[in-house]
């Protein structure tokens, strides 16, 4: 059943689940997200995940896949009408570019 309205209660529960899912991964420094539309106009959730610098450059992809799978499963995102998009960067990169939406 698609979720068509984001009630405060749903958002609170959603956030709790996001934070719980994130705790499974010591590589995660923080998770930021927002509900939006993608460029085609479809409902989307954008996750911005800051990883520890202990994650090697060649490990970001694999670590990211595990995180993506865990969060989409735990939050049952494919049961909603929102398609998930995941973006990853390491903390030292974010510290350098200081993009506000990742803070």
């Amino acid at each position: 059943m698609p979720i068509t309205k984001l009630s405060p209660a749903y958002l609170k529960e959603f956030d709790e689940k996001v934070q719980q899912a994130a705790k499974k991964f010591p590589e995660i420094v923080r998770v930021r997200y927002n509900f939006d539309e993608d460029w085609t106009g479809e409902p989307a959730i954008y996750f911005r995940i800051v990883l520890s610098d202990a994650v090697g450059l060649d490990e970001i992809g694999e670590v990211g896949r595990r995180i993506r799978n865990s969060i989409t499963d735990d939050l049952q995102i494919y049961e909603t009408e929102y398609f998930p998009f995941f973006y990853f960067r390491r903390k030292s990169s974010q510290d350098r570019v200081k993009e506000p939406s990742w803070e």
Partner: protein, 162 residues
């Protein structure tokens, strides 16, 4: 090498700008170029199935639409893709992975090309580039799979008529 492989090589170079290069411009072009590398890989594979003249293949390439391709890849990624055959051939994990990479890169490409408020990080771009490189490798593993053939048709035609 074909245009897809050339674009992939260029994307890798653009993802590692020198200290004197305008970083954000390089990284944005890297993302966009990586997306188009994958786009042209798949479109090129699809039109090879058309047994017509080279000119007709070029014309057919222009029929592929980014939005339609996004919709098909979403369906493959989340398991709702129906394909064209009945029953649908088993969908290899590599194909799901290619679809997910297409989705990620198309979204990133749109932001990189049109959202100047975004700030890109080099490691982020290198990871996107690596994903596309892996998608190229995965595609080589499954390009003769029946599901891959139906996938290419879906990229052109969209959803199967019910």
């Amino acid at each position: 090498m074909g245009i897809a492989e050339d674009l992939l090589t260029l994307a890798g170079r653009l993802a590692t700008p020198a200290a004197t290069d305008p970083e954000q411009a390089w990284l944005r072009r890297s993302i966009s170029t990586a997306y188009y590398a994958l786009f042209h890989l798949l479109v090129g594979e699809a039109v090879q199935c058309w047994n017509g003249s080279p000119a007709s293949r070029v014309g057919l390439e222009r029929a592929f639409e980014h939005k339609r391709m996004m919709e098909v890849n979403r369906a493959v990624s989340n398991g709702t893709w129906k394909g064209w055959g009945t029953p649908l051939p088993p969908v290899p994990g590599e194909l799901r992975s290619v679809a997910q990479t297409f989705i990620d890169l198309q979204d990133a490409r749109h932001q990189a090309d049109y959202d100047n408020a975004r700030i890109w990080a080099s490691d982020q771009c290198l990871e996107l580039f690596a994903d596309v490189r892996t998608a190229f490798e995965n595609w080589q593993k499954i390009r003769t799979d029946p599901a891959a053939n139906e996938y290419l048709l879906s990229l052109l035609m969209g959803k199967r008529r019910e």
